[in-house]
């Protein structure tokens, strides 16, 4: 028809990451050849990043409904009812590739993007968190990536005015050229203030607000859907620069504009910018959108329709207002000195129609770009395990002193305090932060109520690599356990699935297994998944990352006075363990022992011996129902006011968890303890094995019976370990001393280790 035909060559298609079949499908949908602009639009909307074409069939297996779920996956963020008048919106997003290319700006714009996902729904962001993966810090390059990423997260979040209250940082070789930067945000609103990304009301004006459009990040979405190779560094894709100040103005202006009642739909422009926001808003409402690019505010001259439609300039939103009430919207944006321009209107024909100075530049059915985008059932295959010749069962007993191992472990960046990171984040702005970073879960209060929210992010690539299904279950279990330790009932989850190339059947198998594990665990813990993000093609030169699902779960504390911390609260408190102590599968025990034999050799090396050790371990066993019992018992003990402190045992096992409990925290001094642990024949294994479903608690002597009763009602084992007091951490087994270390020294190793890598 009207559009100039451009030559569609195989090179052009491959440049757009489109296959020949996909191209044929485009021709079929349009009943003609696309022009270049249309090809670009299809390529971003049909990219893995926007279409979820490889993952969609699997994601369907996640549980997404529940009593509290007001909005499940599909919108910009999921929404959960927290009771009273309030609801929360939260989500996690990856910004892995951009953060590798430009750590500061990549991470900063990742934070910016997830914040927009939240406030586009009408919620004011009240908390941010992040889950990070880097290569080992003895490499300069990894240090500089980490330094840039952390500064970028801080630079954006601090300026925007959202507290960054927690997260996780993991170091492992497989992330050396594929760092992971997953950003989480949570917003609060009243239930009657929710906005959706729907272009409803034929004739309603479509309004562009925020930053001007430049040639930034064109093809960002396709970049996030392709592997890295040597060439991509030279391709130097145009990385976006974030403007947190403008985002802050945009936030205030959007929330104020929403209050006028003149806004009927709104969506942020994230990946694939104007293209994605227009066709998705139309797609959700079953309407069409017609825009004219001449009205789009532009930062650069001579931009083509292709460039304008695909630009990923940050800090922009698209909103649909009620016809005739535009001026109310404009007035708000003028007050905040943010651009707002009508660029088109809602139509009835279901088409995305793009004009440029009146001339047709693209015309595509919205549905073809969204719901009807290709979906693949790609082949998957369980990888053949490299069969080791069955070694004779020799459970070599390590001769290591537990105290020395503990010191070594505590100095590992994976176990050491992450204070170097969170010091750089404003974690107190908005004056809601009840639990400062450093605890098991982050806790923020909801002003004007008796409620608080607890949030935790967890992932464990190293378990998932060994056993994707169980690894994912453990991630969910640990996340919920962290919340329970803070006194919260887990409510709902979001997730970010970081994987390699899904076109490799082994990788897709991992993905599928992770989904099943996560689904099963989320059912057991009654934490429906309300949204999330999938990041595939995390590979550089064919080297994939560990399969790394990151789960974020939000829990509710009510009343707020039941918030529990994970440090020894006072001398004289009884320390006890909820959950199985040491009766592991013999397979796991054997692996622990063998890992310790190797560890003895690594002990003196300057490398991170814990990480080498942990990488030799299989994924520990987990019984979801047992785990749920432990968590229920703990929560009941907390809610009844019996359990005074609770800490989950995870990485580094019992000994590391005990050490962490003995350390000081804000306004709480450190405490020693004298404890008895029946370690049997394998003391190191008992001290450091990463058995699941265990929570350390402290309580008053007089409450022991009551807690024991709760435990047995839940079918959970309970073991009294000893008493808080003194300034040493002492662990004994029937008279023989396993650990006897001054807490101050342990704490100093633990708290200074990470920062030392960055000392100038």
């Amino acid at each position: 028809m009207m559009l100039a035909e451009s030559e569609i060559t195989p090179e052009l298609l491959s440049h757009h990451n489109l296959t020949e079949e996909e191209y044929q499908r485009i021709v079929q949908v349009l009943r003609r050849q696309p022009n270049l602009t249309e090809l670009g639009i299809f390529s971003v909307m049909w990219s893995e990043h926007c279409s979820y074409k490889s993952s969609k069939v699997h994601l369907k297996r996640l549980p997404t409904t529940g009593q509290r779920v007001l909005q499940g996956p599909g919108e910009n963020a999921g929404i959960i009812d927290i009771g009273g008048d309030y609801a929360i919106a939260f989500k996690i997003e990856s910004h892995n590739h951009p953060s590798f290319i430009e750590p500061y700006q990549g991470a900063a714009t990742g934070v910016g993007g997830i914040l927009r996902d939240i406030f586009t729904m009408g919620a004011r962001p009240i908390a941010a968190m992040n889950s990070l993966r880097f290569g080992p810090l003895d490499q300069v390059k990894n240090r500089s990536i980490m330094e840039g990423v952390v500064a970028g997260i801080a630079g954006y979040g601090n300026c925007f005015g959202v507290p960054t209250i927690g997260g996780e940082v993991v170091f492992e070789e497989s992330y050396s050229s594929n760092p992971l930067v997953n950003a989480f945000a949570l917003g609060l609103f009243r239930k009657d203030q929710i906005f959706y990304g729907k272009a409803v009301g034929v004739g309603n004006p479509v309004i562009y607000v925020g930053s001007k459009t430049g040639r930034d990040g064109i093809h960002g979405a396709t970049m996030a859907s392709a592997e890295f190779d040597e060439e991509s560094e030279s391709k130097r894709p145009n990385v976006q620069v974030g403007d947190p100040f403008l985002e802050k103005l945009l936030l205030e202006a959007c929330l104020e504009a929403m209050k006028t009642g003149a806004v009927v739909g709104i969506q942020d422009m994230g990946a694939a910018g104007l293209t994605c926001s227009t066709c998705e808003m139309g797609g959700r409402a079953g309407t069409g959108i017609e825009i004219d690019l001449q009205f789009v505010p532009q930062r650069e001259t001579g931009m083509t329709p292709y460039e304008i439609m695909l630009s990923e300039s940050q800090e922009r939103m698209l909103l649909v207002a009620e016809k005739g009430r535009e001026e109310e919207v404009f007035q708000v944006f003028r007050k905040w000195e943010v651009d707002a321009v009508t660029i088109g209107h809602v139509t009835a024909d279901g088409l995305l129609r793009v004009k440029d100075h009146g001339k047709l530049a693209a015309e595509i059915p919205n549905a073809a770009l969204t719901d009807e985008a290709p979906v693949y059932q790609r082949p998957l295959q369980r990888p053949v395990e490299s069969h080791r010749s069955p070694e004779p069962r020799r459970t070599a007993r390590s001769q290591l002193a537990c105290g020395a191992v503990l010191r070594k472990f505590l100095s590992s960046p994976n176990l050491a305090s992450k204070e170097w990171v969170y010091r750089q984040y404003d974690h107190m702005v908005r004056t809601n932060t009840v639990q400062l970073p450093g605890g098991d879960a982050a806790v923020i209060r909801i002003k004007g109520t008796d409620k608080a929210l607890a949030i935790s992010l967890d992932g464990n690539g190293r378990y998932c690599r060994r056993h994707p299904r169980r690894g994912a279950q453990i991630a969910v279990a640990e996340c919920c356990r962290n919340l329970v330790c803070a006194g919260a009932l887990p409510l709902a989850a979001t997730n970010c699935l970081n994987f390699g190339n899904p076109q490799k059947p082994e990788i897709l198998w991992q993905f599928s297994e992770v989904i099943d594990g996560m689904a099963e665990a989320c059912r057991v813990f009654e934490t429906p998944v309300t949204g999330g993000n999938v990041s595939l093609y995390n590979e550089t030169l064919g080297e994939g990352i560990y399969p790394t699902p990151v789960i974020g779960i939000v829990g509710l504390i009510e009343p707020i006075t039941r918030t529990t911390r994970c440090w020894f609260p006072a001398d004289g408190q009884i320390v006890a363990l909820l959950g199985q102590v040491t009766r592991p599968s013999s397979e796991y025990l054997e692996a622990l022992s063998q890992a310790f034999v190797a560890f003895a050799a690594d002990m003196e090396s300057p490398k991170d011996a814990y990480t080498l050790w942990a990488n030799r371990l299989p994924c520990p066993p987990l019984d979801l129902h047992q785990e749920r019992g432990v968590q229920n018992a703990c929560l009941e003990g907390i809610r009844n006011g019996l359990i005074r402190a609770a800490h989950d045992c995870s990485d580094g096992g019992l000994a590391v968890a005990l050490a962490e409990m003995s350390f000081s925290s804000f306004r709480a001094p450190r405490h020693g303890a004298r404890l008895q642990v029946p370690a049997g024949e394998f003391p190191t294994e008992a001290m450091f094995g990463e058995y699941q479903s265990r929570i350390l608690v402290t309580l008053d002597e007089t409450d022991c019976r009551a807690v024991q009763q709760i435990a047995s009602r839940h079918g959970v084992e309970w073991l009294r370990l000893g008493t808080v007091g003194g300034d040493r951490l002492i662990v004994e087994d029937r008279g023989s001393v396993l650990i006897d270390e001054p807490v101050a020294e342990l704490e100093s190793i633990w708290s200074s280790s990470l920062g030392q890598y960055f000392q100038r």
Binding site: R215, D216, V239, V241, D243, F245, R299
Partner: protein
């Protein structure tokens, strides 16, 4: 020997600082300002025994690998305030 390395964001990259400063200069009445871009510079004292060629090589190397991220930034430098390089 002294070198000055000037680093700025590439033309196509958004410069939020420059933009904001421009905006405020305008609202303060500096109407003749059409655009502002912000950059940074490094004044580097070099070992005086270096030859000009050595100095140039050193400066280029450090500018490329340490002082800038070539994905978003570009640089130029001057040596001894006599020569200028694009």
């Amino acid at each position: 020997m002294k070198a000055r390395v000037f680093v700025n964001l590439k033309k196509s990259v958004l410069d939020p600082q420059g933009k904001t400063i421009h905006h405020s200069l305008q609202s303060l009445g500096y109407r003749s300002v059409n655009d502002v871009r912000q950059g940074k510079f490094f004044e580097i004292s070099l070992d005086p025994t270096l030859s000009a060629d050595q100095a140039r090589a050193e400066i280029e190397k450090m500018a490329k690998s340490v002082l800038t991220n070539p994905v978003i930034e570009e640089f130029r430098y001057e040596l001894e305030a006599v020569e200028a390089h694009p």
